[in-house]
Every structure is written in structure tokens, then in C-alpha cells.
Amino acid sequence: MADVTFLDVRRLSADDADTADVALAMDEDAFRGFYDRTSGALWGYLSRISGDRQVADDLLQESYYRLLKSTVAFESENHRRNYLYRIATNLVRDTKRTARPVFDTAVEMDDVAARDTHGNTEARQDVRRALGKLKPRERAMLWLAYANGSSHAEIADVLGLKTGSIKLLLFRARRKMAAALQR
């Protein structure tokens, strides 16, 4: 039998990593079904929370990759979806901390409005301007509540807050948004 050197072991290990099926949290069919059901809504969430389409494009794939790499045992599709939104929210928060210092300004939300290809109505711009006046966490909260129909417990889970505090925080965010819409 030929001697196996240290370098051979290293090469064989690297080859194994190239050819073996890598361990991801879902199989391809399950992932693709889940992605098709959730990606459009998640992109909307990312683009409105970050105020930037490019960021939404970048973070969308990163969110799904982190979900695939997670070791959490999901009890249901809802649980998985909430976890995905939690990942996405944290990514937006991290992006804000590092790369984009002026993230939640009205200017960027207006930028989203300016590129609207489906009828650039004044009302739509007003909504975006109003969203731009909110903090990212307030935007996220309102979006989860009224675009996704998430419960207080789900919102708390996604945003890493206490369930008991959501009612008051939502109340304040609604008031702020309404005031911004009336201006």
C-alpha cells in the first residue's frame, strides 16, 4: 500500500468538501417552495425598512443563506418565516451601523418613491415620506403589524422586544405615522 503523506490527507479533505453535499437546514424542494412564498414580501419589508432597494437586493439573499445555515428546529412555517424576518431585521440594523451612516432619512425614502414605476401618485409619496420620518424599528413594527398581519408576540420575536411593550410602541408609531401623513 502506498504511503499517505500529510499533504495527501489535506488534498483529500479539500476534495471531499468540494464534492460532498453541504449540510443546509432545508432540502432544495422545501427551500424553493418557502422562498417562492416569502421572497416578494421579504423584499418589500427590506426595501421599506432600509429605505434602499440595493440594500434590499443584497440582504435578501444573505437572509435566506443565514436561514439555511441555521440549526434551529422550526415548529412551523410561521416560525421559520418569523425567524427569517428576525435575520433580515438584524442585517438591516448591522448595515445601518456600518456601511450607511444616513440610513433612515426621508431623502432615501423619497429616492424609493422617485423610482416607482407603478404610478407615482402623490398619496404613495406621502406614505413613503411618512415612513421615512419614522425610526427603522417603528417602520418594521408597523410593517409587520399591517403588511404581514403579525401578532404582538410575533413582532416581539422578530424585533427582539418584550411582547408586553409592543402595544404601547405600536400606538406611538401609529401616532407618529399619522402625524407625518397629515403634514
Binding site: Y35, G40, R174
Partner: protein, 139 residues
């Protein structure tokens, strides 16, 4: 003048605005296909797995290099100390022989500065003889 809205009115206003915006966002959304995202995830996971396989080897290499360097420095330090001592011993022995005509019996041959190099030389001769024997025996 601005109207005073009730909480219910405000909730309805905000809910309607967000729902309309969500509907627009869904129309705007053009995420890459699930097949592409899956393929990219696979590629990235494989690249990360390869990196993870190589990382421990790099650590082992680094540790081995550091240990070898330490050992080499230790040997060199000891050898330099021994060499200085041996040279001093020979210089002393020569000086006492030349100056006073002292007999060789008066020189301390049990000194470690004499014994150590002699032992090393003896061991080298034995090892080299065995090595030569093994090499030439094969031939």
C-alpha cells in the same frame, strides 16, 4: 385646521396606508429565482466548508513552526554557552601548560567543559559508525 382623530381612526389610516404600500412593494419586488438563490447558497456553503477544513491545518502548521523555532533557539543558546565554556577550558589548560610547565595530570579532565564536547564527539562517532554500517550493509 387639523382634525382630531380617534385611536381607531388613526389605526385605520395607518393600516390602510401600510397595506397599500405593501401591495406596491410586492409589485416592485423582483427577487432572483429560487433556483439561483439555492445554487449560490450551495456554492457558498461549499467554499466555507473547504475553508473550515483548511483552517485547523493552518493552526497546526503555525504551532509546529513556533515549537520548532523555540527548540532551535534553545539548542543554539545551549550550544553557544557550551562552546564558550569549552574554549575557555582549552585556553586555561594551554596557558597553564605553557607558562608553568605543569604536567597534564594537573589539568582537570572531569570539568564539564571538557567532558561535554568529548561525550558529544564520542556519541557522534558511534552514531555515524552505525549509520555507515547500515548504509553499506544495504549495499
Amino acid at each position: 385646521m387639523k382634525r382630531d382623530y380617534s385611536d381607531a381612526d388613526i389605526e385605520a389610516l395607518v393600516a390602510e396606508a401600510i397595506a397599500a404600500e405593501a401591495s406596491t412593494a410586492r409589485r416592485e419586488a423582483h427577487p432572483p429565482s429560487s433556483a439561483i438563490v439555492w445554487w449560490r447558497a450551495q456554492m457558498r456553503a461549499r467554499a466555507e466548508a473547504t475553508k473550515a477544513v483548511e483552517r485547523p491545518l493552518t493552526i497546526v502548521h503555525g504551532l509546529a513552526l513556533a515549537a520548532s523555532l523555540g527548540l532551535l533557539l534553545g539548542i543554539v543558546g545551549t550550544a553557544i554557552g557550551g562552546l564558550k565554556g569549552t574554549i575557555a577550558w582549552f585556553a586555561g589548560a594551554y596557558a597553564s601548560l605553557a607558562a608553568n610547565g605543569t604536567s597534564a595530570a594537573a589539568i582537570d579532565f572531569t570539568s564539564r567543559w571538557f567532558m561535554l564536547p568529548m561525550t558529544a564527539m564520542l556519541v557522534s562517532v558511534v552514531v555515524l559508525s552505525i549509520a555507515a554500517l547500515v548504509i553499506f550493509a544495504d549495499e
